[in-house]
């Protein structure tokens, strides 16, 4: 069955805290925060849910400018924010529980934040001894 199309609203970073506050005050639940990279641009998407309907807001992001953490409003956001920080290298400021890069400890730093594909072909010869 075809589901209805989803609308994602893009906003500016400055509006983020305000918008999240109003979601919180309206009794929304934080569903997730995700990040994606297209070319050199990153986008961070926040999803909220109430009464079985999901709303998404999206902000542009760069590895240079920290995004304000929303963990003061939704504590649960700390898992997503740490995750994005570790996998994409996008910094967040003021995470309530900040793992400082140890949430996902990866063999390459920020594997999703680099444009080259880090998938490497491994030979079966690479064995112990």
């Amino acid at each position: 069955m075809k589901q209805p199309d989803q609308k994602v609203e893009t906003i500016q970073v400055e509006e983020l805290i305000h918008r999240v506050h109003s979601f919180h005050d309206d009794g929304y639940r934080l569903v997730q925060i995700s990040c994606a990279q297209e070319g050199d641009a990153f986008e961070v998407t926040y999803s909220f849910d109430k009464n079985l309907s999901i709303s998404h807001i999206r902000i542009p992001a760069t590895p240079e400018n920290p995004i304000p953490s929303i963990s003061k409003i939704y504590l649960a956001s700390f898992v997503y924010e740490n995750e994005i920080a570790d996998l994409f290298g996008i910094p967040f400021s003021g995470i309530a529980i900040d793992y400082k890069g140890t949430f996902f400890r990866t063999s390459v730093p920020h594997p999703f934040g680099t444009s080259q594909i880090t998938v490497v072909k491994k030979k079966p010869e690479e064995q112990h001894e």
Binding site: R105, T106, P111
Partner: protein
């Protein structure tokens, strides 16, 4: 047959698998497969274990953990890699965080294929491991320490 073969105690560790193989390892303990028939106990403690049953392709932080568990097991000991992930890395072989098979970290004695490995396969694997265990004990007795 030595007593080692009659009383193999295992420790199971999930070194970044998808769980499929783990639950099959667990299933081996349950009534339908009941490996305790062979004296096999799941000890959960490396210092008591003879057989290291390991699933998954060993990710970055698990390398140390796997080595640590292996080192804490007293000789003689064998490693059984359960599932394709543990054998070679499987579907995740090319993932950035996977080292690609348990053998890249510690020596493996038996490879159990399957995705997920079936309980019968796992039993077969452990039974095969027993004879290796016995060999290792013999070489230990004659003064040659087990590998690693």
């Amino acid at each position: 047959m030595s007593y080692l073969q009659k009383s193999p105690w295992i420790i199971h560790y999930d070194a970044s698998s998808c769980n499929g193989c783990d639950i099959e390892v667990l299933a081996c303990l349950t009534p339908l497969y009941d490996v305790e028939r062979f004296g096999i106990l799941n000890t959960g403690n490396p210092k008591h274990a003879d057989i290291f049953v390991i699933t998954g392709g060993v990710n970055e932080i698990n390398k140390e953990v796997v080595k640590n568990i292996y080192d804490q097991m007293p000789h003689p000991k064998v490693v059984v890699a359960v599932g394709i992930c543990a054998c070679s890395g499987g579907v995740f072989k090319e993932c950035y965080n996977i080292s690609g098979g348990v053998a890249t970290v510690i020596p493996v004695d038996i490879y159990v294929p399957g995705c997920a490995a079936r309980p019968e396969s796992i039993i077969d694997g452990i039974v095969q491991a027993l004879s290796i265990l016995e060999q290792k004990r013999n070489s230990m007795k004659t003064g040659v320490e087990g590998t690693a």
